[in-house]
């Protein structure tokens, strides 16, 4: 993800719903508005649901890239409170 400089990164490929999104929420909580979080997530249920949940909380999704190994990388910009 050379085109984005992330402020933090979280890997949620080792957990299942709903801890997937919970870990993303916790990671976003400590960032400032406008900062970027990259999330490594698995294909299937996580890639279907986590980006949608992130959007529902008002954050901005900048990119969702297929890593070609069954995982994706999501780039999120944190919204204000």
């Amino acid at each position: 993800m050379a085109d984005f400089t992330a402020d933090d990164h979280v890997d949620i490929t080792d957990v299942v719903c709903p801890v997937t999104f919970v870990k993303v929420k916790v990671a976003l909580d400590v960032l400032e508005e406008g900062q970027l979080l990259t999330v490594r997530l698995a294909d299937g249920e996580p890639v279907q649901n986590v980006p949608r949940s992130v959007k529902e909380e008002g954050h901005q999704i900048l990119k969702l890239a297929d890593n070609g190994d069954g995982t994706y990388t999501l780039v999120v910009r944190k919204a204000g409170e």
Binding site: P18, V19, F21, V22, K23, K25, V26, D29, E57
Partner: protein, 267 residues
């Protein structure tokens, strides 16, 4: 404070809620609630507050678990009969959530000790079963400027209200003084349907949680009544009473007072 993986999983259903989230769960973990009475109301309240991760929970009661308690006091089990209620409650709460600190206080709450008991807690839950205790808790909370949840249950009926200092009437504004002894039976004499404690005590826990996370509307200024036979909830507006003896403009109650209580009610 960062959450451990165990905490993330345990509290995931809270953290997912936008009204709770990471910040709300942290507030719960840092909060303290005192539950007075480990009976029909206190049992479900204590279970839900422990499960919710309220960091410090005090529980005060002088009694021992009696077989006749088990029909509604779901925090105690048959092997607990004869054990101090606060000890039995503490064991169940710690089994549900080892991450919370439970302070068991085996004492009959009266005017001599209540101010010391409630000091240091963020929110108080009145889970007692008699009018003198309810007025005592009200007066002490008003005097100490502590928010609290009042509730009462009997037969198929229950009621509750929430007092927050400066934000509405107190229990005494509405009810003035305890009824004469024998005018109203206690649930010991009259009976109470077991699930009533579950309904109303859970609502008390809900008020405590909402107060702690600072979301939604509390029952301040309102009395919620529940009639299980009619399956009716009513939310009645409670006006502030400017001549209230404890929270009015010219209070006459300046320290907690004990009302007379019949011998049989004390057991």
């Amino acid at each position: 404070m960062a959450f451990s993986n165990e905490q993330l999983e345990r509290y995931s259903r809270h953290i997912l809620l936008s009204e709770v989230g990471v910040k709300g769960q942290k507030k719960l973990l840092e909060a303290s609630v005192l539950i007075i009475g480990a009976g029909g109301l206190g049992a479900p309240a204590a279970l839900y507050l422990a499960a919710a991760g309220v960091g410090t929970i005090g529980i005060a009661d002088a009694d021992e678990v009696d077989l006749s308690n088990l029909q509604r006091q779901v925090i105690h089990t048959t092997p607990d009969v004869g054990k101090a209620k606060v000890q039995s409650a503490k064991e169940t709460m710690e089994a549900i959530n080892p991450g919370v600190t439970v302070k068991a206080c085996r004492t009959f709450v009266d005017a001599s000790n209540i101010m010391g008991l409630i000091a240091g807690y963020d929110f108080i839950i009145d889970g007692t079963d008699n009018f003198p205790a309810k007025f005592l808790i009200n007066d002490a909370c008003v005097l100490a400027a502590k928010p609290f949840s009042h509730a009462g249950i009997i037969r198929f009926k229950g009621q509750l209200t929430t007092y927050v200092p400066g934000e509405g009437p107190c229990y005494r504004c509405a009810f003035k003084a305890p009824p004469p002894p024998d005018a109203v039976p206690t649930c010991k004499q009259a009976g109470v349907i077991g699930a009533m404690g579950g309904v109303i005590g859970s609502l008390q826990a809900m008020e405590a949680v909402k107060y702690i996370i600072g979301k939604g509307e509390l029952l301040t200024g309102h009395l919620l009544t529940y009639d299980a036979l009619k399956m009716e909830f009513r939310k009645i507006k409670l006006p502030a009473y400017k001549d209230c003896a404890v929270c009015g403009e010219h209070p006459t109650i300046l320290a907690p007072v004990d009302y007379e209580q019949k011998e049989c009610d004390l057991k």
